[in-house]
Structures are given as structure tokens and as C-alpha cells.
Amino acid sequence: MIRISDLSKTFTLHNQGRARIPVMAGASLQVAAGECVGLVGASGAGKSTLMRLIWGNYLADGGRIEVGDLDIVRAAPREIIALRRATLGYVSQFLRVVPRVPVLDVVAEPLRVLGRPAEEARAVAAGLLERLNLPSRLWSLSPTTFSGGEQQRVNIARGFAHPYPALLLDEPTASLDAANRAVVLEMIAEAKARGAAILGIFHDEGARAQVCDRLVDVTAFAPRGVA
């Protein structure tokens, strides 16, 4: 489902003496449907960079990133937008929402952009929030003032609202208590069971052991002479 080959990335900082910072070269990996692959490597080794290259908010210099039939490296913006709507989900560490929009609508939004009716989308959202133990008295509030753990659960609910065939998970259990961590791991297992290809970053080793089928060390993707 996700196929990456010979991927490279260099940042050029035009306002800092045009410094060129190569961060990745020759990166290759595959994630099959129903498989969960964990990215490992020290901080700064490029785990998040790889996730962003796949999501498309970082621009690759060369190589291929295929998600389904689309090569992200060469895709037009509207193709990436369509991919994010229906095929590729992303649970990032940051919640970015329009202030004042209630949690329930934030979580329902991925379904609304797919054309599902408001009531139906909200019902799915409510089910997810309930499962993630977010008290219903919070559902009508904007998540902008929530705690880290609450925001993270909102992000997870959003990422699981639609059954995306491919999922990127950036530290999905980082700020969660044991009970909610167990719920999230269960949701990941269910997504695998329905055939989702999952690529994740998990600092939590127990979580990693529980859901990952394989680990890929991104240190191997560092450009020569850098790592």
C-alpha cells in the first residue's frame, strides 16, 4: 500500500547563507495492507521527516513515494488533497483546528468532506470519543483549551473516523494514561485487521511490541557522511 524507493531530501535555507542540509538519501521501505511498521532511530534521525514526506507537507528532492496508485513526489496538489480525503490518514502530535469549532464537529469533519450527512458523521464521532473516554460534557467545546492528553485523543478520533486504507501515526500514545493507551492500541489492531497499512512512530516500547509487525531504523536513510 505504501512503497517508498530511493527517497532523498535536502533543506536549503536561503536566508542563512543558502545552507544546504541533506537529511535523507536512498530511503526505501514498504508497508503492506494489514501491516504495521514502526520507525525507529534516535531523535533527529528523520522519523518525522519521513512521515511528513509521505503526508506531502515536505517536498522530496528525488525518489518515489507511492500510496496506492499515487506517487506523492510528482502529484499535483489536488491529487494529494483527494488522497488525504479518502485514502491516507494522519494522526499528528499537533491538533490544528479552527478555534470555536466543537470537538464533535472537529472529529466528524473527515466524514463531512467525504460527503457523509452531518448527523451520521456526528454519530460516528460520538462513538469514537466515547470509546476514547472523552467526557461528553466536553463535546460541544472547542478543543483548543484542552489538555495534551485530551487533544491527542481528539486527534486520534479524527484519524480513525474514516477507515483510511493507509495511516500515519506520530506518537499516538505519547500523553495517554494506561486505559486510553489500551484503547488506542486496540483501535490500531482493528485497523490492521480491516487491512489498513500503518506506519508509525512509537517511543513507547511496549506499544511498539504490541502493534508493530516490523521495525525500520531510519538511521540507514541518513545521507552518507552525515550520520
Binding site: 533543506f11 536549503t12 535555507l13 536561503h14 536566508n15 511528513r52 506531502g56 507537507n57 515536505y58 517536498l59 496538489p77 489536488r78 494529494i80 488533497i81 490544528r96 479552527v98 478555534p99 470555536r100 469549532v101 463531512r112 468532506v113
Partner: protein, 269 residues
């Protein structure tokens, strides 16, 4: 309805771009307003144009919307009768277009509203301009639109001068969208508003864009606004497009030195 005349509201789904802009150029004497701007806008896409004051973004928007005559270039619109160069249209055709199929939301609501006419009249007037005649229908649709932009129905007979800035802006949006346009041009739509009012307006615009399948071009200097509203982003400097792409890609991994400067200059809160 008159909006059907040029065909883009007739339920037609163009297989190609809704709008194709090629080499659009406008000079102010010897000075460049905007130069050699080209892009395609697809149905349902929201494109943001950012840049500092004087970068040419408002000039570009005015040329696209037909408020300014460019010196060179093409603006091809997909219509029921095939692709048409908007710049080559007769004045009457273009006026028809700007009454039905496309709309312009000004930064200052006073430029887009008639301040001496009631809120309901402001909305109803646009419907009458595209052929609606039945008073009851017009009033019902105006009421419906006021509610959609969160203005209480009992304010329908009040004049916009009695409204707050945020309400005026929402009224202007109702007036612009009531005819079901396919394409909306917005010039700093949240510009003059308090931050709290801005958020409400952003939420409203996002919902309307999604429900109506609108294409929109939004000029702003506010990167937070484009991040939340635009699918794609175009960055302008000194009248030229220096970078364009997916909004979060341009903001998170800017390629051009100017964009890098712009993004890194935003104050964090």
C-alpha cells in the same frame, strides 16, 4: 435563473479546471502590478494568495474578477458553452457573470453591501438581479441565508449600518453566495475583524465552501487564515508568483527564500 445562462451553475461538472489563467500581466505605468501569473483552479478548490502589501495580490484578484483590465494574458472560464476567455467577453456578459456565477467578497463590507438597504434587501437584490420575481420566495430565501450566516431572522429589516463589523461581513457573504455561485473571490475577508470574530467567520466559510462545492480564491496576508481555509497556496512578491503548491507544503517546507522569510517571520503565540 439567470445564473444558468453561462452554464457553470447548471450542474455541469467540467472535467478540466474551472478557471485557467495564463500570463496575466498588469502594469501601473512602468511599474509592475502583477506579471506573468499562470495557474489552474479546479472545481471545489480553494486557493490562497499571500504576500506583503504591494506584492500584487490585490491587483491580481482585481484582474481576475474583471475590476481591472490586464495588459496581457488570458482568464479562461469553463462554461456550459465551452471554455470562454473572460477578458474577451462583452461588458454585459461579464456583468451577468458577476451577478450569478461568481461573487466577490470585499475586505470592507461597506464596499460589498448597500448600506441604505435592509439586510433582507441586500440579499434579495442579488436574487432579483438574476431573475427572481416572487416577493415571498425572495424573502424566504433571504431569511434562510441570514440564518445560514448566523444573523437572526428578526434582523431582516434592519440596515447593515446597525450591524457589528462581523455581522456586516457575514451579511456580505450571504449576499454573495445567495445566487449559488461556483467561484468566489475574497479580498482579506477576515481582515478588519477581531480575532474571535475571525474564527467564527472562518468556520462559516469552511462549511459553506464544503457544502456548496465552491471554488474560491482568497487574498490575505494572514498565513493562519490560509492554513485553515485554502487547499493550495500561491506566494507573490513584487508582482510575481515566487512559489505555489499545497498549502501545508508551502508553509511547512517553503522552497523560495522569500517564502522562508515570510513563514519564519510569523509571531508565535
Amino acid at each position: 435563473m439567470g445564473a444558468v445562462e453561462l452554464g457553470i451553475s447548471a450542474g455541469m461538472k467540467p472535467e478540466g479546471p474551472l478557471l485557467s489563467v495564463r500570463g496575466l500581466t498588469r502594469f501601473y505605468g512602468a511599474r509592475i502590478g502583477c506579471a506573468d501569473v499562470s495557474f489552474d483552479l479546479w472545481p471545489g478548490e480553494v486557493m490562497g494568495i499571500v504576500g506583503e502589501s504591494g506584492s500584487g495580490k490585490s491587483t491580481l484578484l482585481s484582474c481576475l474578477a474583471g475590476h481591472l483590465v490586464p495588459d496581457a494574458g488570458e482568464v479562461i472560464l469553463a462554461t456550459g458553452a465551452g471554455p470562454r476567455d473572460v477578458l474577451a467577453m462583452s461588458e454585459a456578459e461579464r456583468r451577468r457573470l458577476s451577478r450569478g456565477d461568481w461573487a466577490f467578497v470585499h475586505q470592507n463590507p461597506r464596499d460589498g453591501l448597500r448600506m441604505g438597504v435592509s439586510a433582507g434587501g441586500n440579499v434579495g437584490e442579488r436574487l432579483m438581479a438574476v431573475g427572481a420575481r416572487h416577493y415571498g420566495d425572495i424573502r424566504a430565501r433571504a431569511t434562510d441565508w441570514l440564518e445560514r450566516v448566523e444573523i437572526a431572522a428578526e434582523r431582516i429589516d434592519d440596515r447593515p449600518s446597525a450591524f457589528s463589523g462581523g455581522m456586516q461581513q457575514r451579511l456580505q457573504i450571504a449576499r454573495s453566495l445567495v445566487t449559488g455561485p461556483r467561484l468566489v473571490f475574497m479580498d482579506e475577508p477576515t481582515g478588519g475583524l477581531d480575532v474571535s470574530v475571525q474564527a467564527r467567520l472562518l468556520d462559516l466559510l469552511r462549511g459553506l465552501v464544503r457544502e456548496m462545492g465552491l471554488s474560491a480564491i482568497i487574498v490575505t496576508h494572514d498565513l493562519a487564515v490560509v492554513r485553515l481555509l485554502a487547499d493550495r497556496l500561491m506566494v507573490m512578491k513584487s508582482g510575481r508568483v515566487v512559489e505555489q503548491g499545497l498549502t501545508d507544503q508551502v508553509l511547512d517546507d517553503p522552497q523560495h527564500g522569500y517564502t522562508q522569510l515570510l513563514v519564519s517571520s510569523v509571531l508565535q503565540v
